[in-house]
Amino acid sequence: MTETAVCPVLHERDHPLQPPVGFPEAVGDGPVKMLWPNGVEAWIVSSYAGVRQVLSDARFSTRKGGQPEMRTDEGETVLDPDQPGNINGIDGAEHMRLRRPLSRGFMVKRMNELRPRIQQIVDEHLDVMEAKGAPADLVTSLCLPLPSLVIAELLGVPPEHQELFQATAGDLFGKNGSKDEYLAHATKLAEVLAPIVAEKKAAGTNDDMIGLMANDTDFSMDELIFLCIGLLAAGHETTSNFLGLFTLHLFEKPDQLEILRRDPSRADVMVEELMRYTVGQLGGAGLTRRATEDVEVDGVLIKAGDWVSVSLIANLDEELCPRAEELDLERDAVSHLGFGFGPHQCLGANLARAELQIGLRSLFERFPNLRPAVPVTEMDYRDDMITYGAAEIPVVW
């Protein structure tokens, strides 16, 4: 018997925008079995084809079944696996029951209708940033407020509830508190949402997400509230971090930034490439699944019951595109895995795309000379293993 390799420490990076030290070498083309700091053994799958297979094959379950999270050494998940409305932790028909009705609210058409409002939110924030003058922190000026305002719009939070909603959402995601603090804030947010749900029910409308869930589905109140919180949780820090990380990658690669400056009308395609590259460079472990039957992946037999962690470093696999390790904003969009794959692929992908496209384009159109006020490598990065990003991005222009 060979001994299972120990997973490299995933918080240590030589450069904040590159994969954890030793990780790419340790996983190779995968799959490899590794021992996590919390004592759980899991396969890491890191090839493009392997990741697509694991994420789309129904023999891999996303149910976490009370097992400790493999990504962290804390051994505790915030989420109860049996929490009603936990869309990311259930499979098959049960999952489709929750997921299907939500897709109407995220339709490409609906996202396009939201674009003018997203543009307005971005412009207002850039106005304030410009008025206050340099230096500014990009995270608090734009990255962080944008997604929560947009999600409030999508959910249909009425103006009179906005302030309380934003403040409560800010408390929930503002800092990495303890599990108890998180639960207390989540309870508070549920209290803020309850009367809004009641109003939509009474009005019988379905033109926003809360109305749609309240009036067009069989969701229980618990499911509905948790799904609202879930949308906020899944779409807040992720989008904020990525807008920041995209900007940082461009600061580090002036030739690529020049391509965006020259032709901002291609920002849509460039966001796909930035997404592919940024997610790939984050490397590390990613999405967790468990085999329910014996399955062969990339020529290796994964046994029923084995845990699998899919690494989105697969976005740097040459099988996806040539020179996959390079950021190339002149590339056509490729079928990357930045938003996952299979039935659990990011529900909010098209919303995130709209925010990132509008945000990035407007930022460099407004401030063509935008540049970091301190070296990118000296900024402070937050890494709670699920979301990674710069805590502050001081900029001048």
């Binding site: 489709m96 897709s103 109407r104 995220f106 339709m107 490409v108 039935p343 992908a349 098209n350």
Partner: protein, 64 residues
């Protein structure tokens, strides 16, 4: 060449619409993928192939 969507497993992600907006749409009733042009002309085929590749539920097919 015939384009099909197996709606039973479609998750309404709209990736097909992004890949080939002239060939696909999403239903206003439930957001599921719809084929607007089942027999697309040659110039639309690259977009359709892209949709086949990108569909997260792998339910878009192109039968030659």
């Amino acid at each position: 060449m015939t384009v099909r969507i197996d709606q039973t497993k479609c998750i309404g992600s709209g990736q097909c619409v992004l890949a080939a907006p002239d060939v696909f749409d999403q239903s206003d009733d439930d957001g599921l993928g719809l084929v607007l042009v089942p027999e697309p002309s040659a110039e639309l085929l690259p977009g359709v192939r892209d949709a086949v590749d990108r569909c997260p539920a792998q339910v878009v097919s192109l039968e030659e």
